[in-house]
């Protein structure tokens, strides 16, 4: 086996069970299964006490109440010790007045980071990239976002993605580009000639037979 094959990070796959873990966090030892029945956003950051990560943590704390309204928990991760995490979140509270309300995994042995493909050697051999994994209440991985070290994440997009996934699950629909809650949704594309005819008679906004939109009640 070549060295390149050994070091290639493994990536989890959408719509498969999220990789299981038990990890030390700032709120004690948690397992992925502790989050069942809730949605979970597992996200990694490169390192504590770094500028972009600090802005992201404040932003995650700001959207936490909105996430809770949607039944979503947050779980951070970096390859730092729990003491570093504690010192950093205390610093954020003291200097910036923001309390970080969610736990952070201290993944010093990279056990979780490896399972989720968070360490990508082309970006950094020692730090996790800015990854986001959305895991549903059944423990299935539903969405992944990877950002580079230089670019802070967009919290509104993360909220929008949660809203879109929950809307799709609840109403069996898809959501178009730039969809926001309240906008029209897309009726799943028909798979048979009969379904095409039925969609055309259903009162949807028909752009063409394969693209029908409707408002949610």
């Amino acid at each position: 086996m070549s060295e390149e094959m050994v070091t290639t990070p493994t990536l989890p796959r959408l719509n498969e069970p999220a990789p299981d873990f038990e990890a030390v966090t700032t709120h004690g030892v948690v397992r992925l299964s502790d989050f069942r029945d809730s949605w979970l956003i597992l996200f990694s950051h490169p390192a504590d006490f770094t500028p972009v990560c600090t802005t992201e943590f404040i932003a995650f704390a700001e959207i936490y109440p909105e996430l809770q309204k949607r039944g979503v928990e947050l779980l951070g991760l970096s390859i730092d010790s729990v003491y570093s995490h504690i010192a950093w979140i205390r610093n954020i509270q003291e200097k910036m007045g923001v309390k970080i309300p969610f736990p952070i995994i201290a993944d010093l042995d990279r056990a979780v980071a490896t399972k989720y493909g968070m360490v990508q050697p082309g970006a950094s051999k020692t730090e996790a990239v800015r990854a986001v994994f959305i895991i549903d209440p059944k423990g299935v991985l539903r969405a992944m976002i990877y950002y580079p070290l230089t670019t802070g994440r967009n919290m509104q997009e993360i909220l929008r993605l949660i809203d879109a996934l929950q809307t799709s699950d609840k109403h069996n629909v898809a959501t178009p580009a730039n969809w926001q809650p309240g906008d029209k949704v897309i009726v799943p594309a028909p798979k048979t000639v009969e379904m095409v005819e039925e969609n055309l008679k259903a009162g949807y906004e028909v752009v063409d037979w394969y693209l029908c939109k409707r408002r949610l009640e």
């Binding site: 948690v30 809730s38 928990e73």
Partner: protein, 73 residues
């Protein structure tokens, strides 16, 4: 452990979890009574079982004799 301080005393949240366990209580019931997130309750219940203060029963958890003693019951 997140539930037990270095001096052996229980943390505030651990005491709250233990006090919320009546007869056989499910994690969801404990979370509702304590207002703690469900994931945190599940983690605490596991630690309190390991510490011998709770035991797992079908349908939930209940206090052991040591657990009752620790919260003054």
């Amino acid at each position: 452990m997140a539930c037990i301080n270095p001096d052996g005393t229980l943390t505030t949240s651990a005491k709250a979890v233990l006090k919320a366990v009546t007869e056989v209580s499910s994690p969801a019931e404990v979370a509702q009574k304590t207002n703690l997130p469900l994931f945190r309750v599940r983690s605490s219940l596991r630690e309190l079982v390991e510490a011998g203060l709770l035991e797992e029963q079908e349908g939930g958890y209940r206090l052991t004799a040591i657990g009752k003693e620790r919260i003054g019951l």
